[in-house]
């Protein structure tokens, strides 16, 4: 390989290479400090944090241009703008979370974060279809398995078991959607097929299920709550928020393509169904967040609320394929929930409890945590009003259903109220637990990074930095796919339809035949 080719490969695979390098770095640091030394874990954590930040910087430097596009035979890895933006933000977010989390497994959690964001970057860099979706689903399963390891906790193991079942069920849904998608072009020339509108509805349902189930849209929220209850926060955020959001970007791209490819309105009640599920999820997540007293569960329900927005965005992708509002809200949503996760891990580490009843006065005792939660609330409310809030309102307008819009707005307001409630608890008289907790001085690296990190992430989430539009960038286009041409044709079974001369649809109706089925769910002609 030439030097230029090597440089291209490094640019294309930088997050993956950094994640792999952590596998060598952590043992080397432990070897250097010696297993008996208490500071070995601290150094390993610090090393992993540096790698996370290096991934961010590397993503910015490598970018998503043609210089980063790697071609190996038939394989093309073309880093996308949304993927690189997620790496940039993910590196910073998880470096701060790992620092705030401290503890024996902080370094391992940092490594998990490195692999998680590398998987997201890679999935958004390869041609759309079954490969990126499978990559993200299996990465999610691997991350939940790795994050749950370390202790024999039945709750954790059951959360992973649930994830295993979910992932195994979603892949058949994607493949069936892919088959239905290809059938759309055949329906135009063969009456024995279902109508294009109904086939498109089936495709949309199959593809949307990936986001609906993975993100935890009502009534599939149980998995998400279990994840937030059982897994460490890095694992919870990756499996419950970051990976589902990356899946949402892929799915929205597919849905936009699907909606553009058919002229008739989508059959069935797919769009109203997804809209209703989104609004119900927002209300359900917000009310549940208000009713629960465990901050882990509350953050889990905040994530459920965010899943409601993803469902509304998926419906908007079907209704208005060219509108970018649906993809614009994805990254701010990820960052808002990550900020709540950062606050959660910091409070849990400091006070050793997640019960609101034992956390009275936490904000007065640890002001930095108060700043982190304040930043999370600003991010959630997207204040001051700007592009993010406008995109959310646009989604509601595209939905075209006033009832759904009212429910969604009410849900979002209740989510903010639930977050403000957590902040208010911090200003009540100090509980015994809070009073007795050890706090570190304000002028401390971890505290300063917590504050600066929270402010930066909140600024990005609320739209102050205007980087959210990076999430609307195009994903690598999928190559055309059609049924394999190598099989022996069989006649149509429908006796009422005269068999055509050519067993496959005519060239004008059929997509281009490619040598291998890539699993693409790309627009039909």
């Amino acid at each position: 390989m030439s030097a230029e080719g090597l440089l291209t490969a490094i640019r294309a695979l930088f997050p993956v290479l950094t994640a792999l390098s952590s596998l060598a770095l952590v043992p080397l640091v432990r070897l250097w400090r010696g297993p008996q030394r208490d500071d070995a874990t601290t150094y390993a954590t610090f090393g992993v944090q540096l790698l996370l930040l290096a991934t961010s910087v590397g993503a910015v430097l490598a970018g998503a241009g043609y210089l980063s596009t790697l071609k190996i035979g038939q394989i093309t890895i073309d880093p996308s703008e949304p993927g690189r933006l997620l790496v940039l933000l993910g590196g910073i977010v998880f470096a701060v979370i790992v620092g705030a989390g401290e503890g024996r497994r902080a370094g391992t959690m940092g490594q998990i974060a490195l692999f998680g964001i590398a998987a997201i970057d890679l999935a958004l860099a390869i041609p759309s279809g079954i490969a990126p979706i499978a990559l993200l689903l299996f990465a999610s399963l691997a991350i939940s398995g790795a994050a749950a390891s370390g202790k024999d906790d039945v709750g954790r193991a059951r959360a992973v078991f649930r994830d295993l079942r979910t992932v195994s069920l979603l892949l058949p849904a994607v493949v069936i959607a892919e088959i239905l998608r290809v059938a759309i072009s055949y329906a135009a020339v063969d009456a024995s097929y279902a109508t294009p509108a109904s086939l498109a509805a089936g495709t949309a349902l199959g593809v949307s299920l990936v986001v609906i189930v993975a993100a935890g849209v009502f009534p599939f929220h149980g998995r998400l709550i279990k994840i937030f209850e059982a897994l460490p926060i890095v694992g919870s955020l990756l499996v419950g928020v970051w990976i589902p959001s990356a899946l949402a970007l892929i799915v929205m791209s597919e849905l936009s393509g699907l909606a553009s490819s058919i002229t008739d309105p989508l059959g069935g009640a797919i769009v109203p169904g997804i809209l209703l599920a989104g609004a119900a999820t927002l209300i359900f997540g917000a009310v549940s967040a208000l009713l629960h007293d465990d901050i882990g569960e509350i953050v889990g329900f905040m994530a459920v609320g965010n899943a409601g927005w993803l469902a509304l965005a998926a419906a908007a992708s079907l209704q208005s394929p060219t509108d970018t509002s649906s993809r614009l809200i994805v990254i701010p949503g990820i960052l808002s929930i990550s900020l709540f996760g950062l606050w959660l891990v910091s409070v849990r580490r400091r006070y050793g409890t997640t019960s609101i009843s034992e956390l009275g006065g936490w904000a007065r005792r640890t002001g930095a945590n108060g700043i982190a939660l304040g930043a999370a609330i600003v991010a959630l409310a997207a204040l001051p009003p700007g592009a993010v809030l406008a995109a959310r309102l646009n989604l509601l307008l595209l939905g075209g259903n006033p009832l759904v819009a009212i429910f969604a707005v009410a849900g979002q307001i209740l989510l903010i109220v639930a977050a403000v409630r957590l902040l208010l608890v911090g200003f009540t008289p100090q509980s015994q637990t809070v009073h007795e907790a050890e706090t570190r001085p304000f002028a401390n690296v971890i505290t300063i990074s917590l504050i600066l990190g929270s402010l930066f992430v909140a600024a990005a989430a609320a739209g102050w930095l205007s980087i959210e539009s990076g999430g609307t960038g195009p994903l690598p286009p999928a190559p055309s796919v059609s049924p394999a041409a190598s099989f022996t044709p069989a006649p149509s079974s429908d006796p009422t339809v005269a068999p055509s001369q050519d067993p496959t649809p005519s060239a004008t109706a059929s997509p281009t035949v490619s040598p291998s089925g890539s699993g693409e769910i790309s627009p039909a002609p």
Binding site: A134, F138, L164, V167, P172, V175, I179, F487, P503
Partner: protein, 201 residues
Amino acid sequence: MPSPELPILLIAIVAGMLAVTSAGRGAWVAIAILALSSSALEFSVGDPNRIGLILRLSAIGIGLAAALPENLFERQALRRDLAVRTLVQTLREHPVVVASAMAGLLLGLVPLALPIESSSDPLRAAGVALLVVGLPPLLTSRFIEATTRAAVVTLSGTLLLRTSIFGELDPLAALAIGAGFTCILVVGGSVATRISNAEEE
């Protein structure tokens, strides 16, 4: 239809049925046979992609090595659990699974409103049969090892169905799916171990 396809297909379906109905050794040996036969079917279509087949078999091999329970290869026990009479008895005790497989096989052979005019009938039938055998336990089983095996059966069926229509996977998708098989087996094995350890404590 190429001559070796039919016996391999039947072996895959019987192995799929045994993987979800047997317990212990029988089930794990069945899953290994299913993996071998379904991968051979999947990658024999069109231009055989030997790298894809090797990759898939390596991935499943690694997964099985990590997930297999201890004492699996005890000679006497293996001989007892894998006796033809035992296997037939197991299938006779689960007539619903056998009926589902038969129904799936027939359903797969009948052309439906799908782009299947140009697809491979045997692969499609095997894919649908494995899907209907694997999905019910995947949805309902409360046992982790059984769910893991059902996941492998379902995924194998899904990929056969897909291959019957679109041909073999492209290299990236083959890599992702291979990693997925490993992931399911490793994570399933680790969760089963963790829960049994926690329950022992």
